[in-house]
Amino acid sequence: MLALHNVLRAFGGVRAVDDASFTVERGEVHGLIGPNGAGKTTLLNLISGFIAPTSGTISFEGRSVGGLAPQRLAALGISRTYQNIRLFAGLTALDNVVVGQHLRRRSPFIPRLFFSPAARKEEEAARARALEGLSRVGLHGRALTTAANLSYGEQRRVEIARALGAAPKLLLLDEPTAGMNPPEAHEVGRLVREVAREGRSVLLVEHNVRLVMELCDRITVLNFGKVIARGTPSEVARDPAVIAAYLGDDSGGAEGGGAA
């Protein structure tokens, strides 16, 4: 579904992503882990069109999409959340999720201008769907709260609901549980599995290694922009290169999965 082939992105002399290749299959939860500065967020920015690859190809459903604008990629079915939350802060939680449905809605302005009943019905349906989306992340009761007034964890969940509003084929999550307490993080994990069961793919950047190990079908490990390991969670946890990257070179410990 999503395939990266020898993708390289340089900022001046720094290769933030260096020759990365991996694939994400339909319905798969794919983890992307690595120490700070490994290039995980840069990779998400490449896939969502915020930046263009310096070289290499990114293909989505067989079509080459490297360097396309974010709105074009969104139209192809790629949604994302942000590490540094980017909700529409002045809008309510519900309105944020309604905006997330932009691509799904067929609602031209001229009939709406003249109070067309069809336009009204479409709008009510959109709001009902948005409310459902909020229920799904457990925020039914916060629908009319302005996004800026929500707690950190709540904002992250509204972002996920907003991204799901577009009914994406591929969902990119950038540290969705950062700043959440364990029960909240667990809920997000459950939601991610549920989303994958619907046939959507999830690419998950996450520092909570335990969650990644529990959740992901496959994991790609980055360090200094290079892919140093890939495979199932248990394969990756045993990989000496991963253990070295996380715990330092001279460590022989087997705790690769435990440290974050």
Partner: protein
């Protein structure tokens, strides 16, 4: 009735200024600070005046339509490059456009250069003016809560995030830029057919600053804000004219002084403008 006749002119200027403030609000509503609207106003005013002077048979409605359409069309090729600019750069580029238009008219012999066109028949009736204001308010009001309106709000809040929702930000920004140009153009034509004259000096940089100040003082979070701001800043200096002359200030400088003081006060103490006052008071009473 006598009272109305005495203040007829003032009331008309409130309407014209309301349209101009709304034209600035149109682009502000999707987060773009464009200062091209004095230029668009000039194009609309000259278009309307030339049509009326050279083809008196054309109905006024058609004249107004032309005065809205021409600036709106010019806004499209202009907007495509300048809307790529952000913040202060967009403001500067659009100020440049306004000055180009003004200087163009100064140097155009066909429209009598700096003297402008005179003896334009007075065709702007109060009801035509206020109907136009209502029509613009209606369109802006119906935008709220629509898919289009949500897209505009999203662009204003975070343009990059809006793009990842699949919103074609350039198209929306361009549409609002063109809509603002149409409103400014129609306001220009209405003013020309009310004051009998058009001349380039009426469309200087100061004019667009007035529009912007009125929009901000009234409040740009809600679409009636600019109308309130225009009414407030048009009427207040008149109401205080007497007091001003008593302390030895002539009306012109007094108006500028008052505008400055009010703008400062609003930005410091009422950042969402006068339109947000009722909500603030209610909150204070409750809290």
């Amino acid at each position: 009735m006598n009272l109305y006749l005495a203040y007829q002119g003032l009331i008309a200027f409130v309407g014209i200024n309301a349209l101009l403030a709304l034209s600035v609000y149109a682009t502000l509503s999707c987060g773009q600070l464009s200062l091209a609207n004095a230029g668009f106003m000039a194009i609309g005013a000259y278009t309307g005046a030339l049509l009326t002077l050279h083809a008196p048979g054309i109905p006024f409605a058609a004249v107004l339509l032309a005065s809205a359409l021409l600036p709106a069309l010019i806004a499209l090729p202009l907007g495509l490059p300048v809307l790529r600019l952000r913040g202060v750069f967009l403001a500067i580029a659009t100020i440049g456009f306004g000055e180009v238009v003004r200087l163009g008219f100064v140097n155009w012999d066909y429209t009598n250069g700096a003297l402008g066109l005179v003896a334009i028949p007075q065709r702007t009736k109060p009801w035509i003016l206020w109907l136009t204001v209502l029509a613009v308010l209606f369109v802006l009001g119906r935008l709220r809560g629509s898919r289009t309106g949500y897209a505009l709000e999203a662009i204003r809040e975070d343009e990059m995030a809006a793009r990842t929702m699949g919103i074609e930000t350039t198209a929306y920004k361009l549409a609002m830029f063109s809509f603002g140009a149409a409103i400014a153009g129609i306001a220009g034509a209405l003013e020309a057919h009310f004051t009998f004259i058009v001349s380039p000096s009426g469309y200087s940089f100061g004019r667009v600053v007035d529009m912007l100040v009125q929009a901000i003082v009234g409040g740009t979070a809600y679409f009636v804000g600019p109308v309130i701001g225009a009414a407030f800043l048009t009427l207040l200096p008149e109401a205080l004219r007497e007091a001003g002359s008593r302390v030895g200030l002539s009306p012109g400088p007094f108006r500028l002084f008052l505008n400055g003081v009010i703008l400062l006060a609003v930005i410091l103490y009422l950042p969402d403008g006068i339109a947000s006052l009722p909500r603030r008071l209610r909150r204070r009473v409750r809290g």
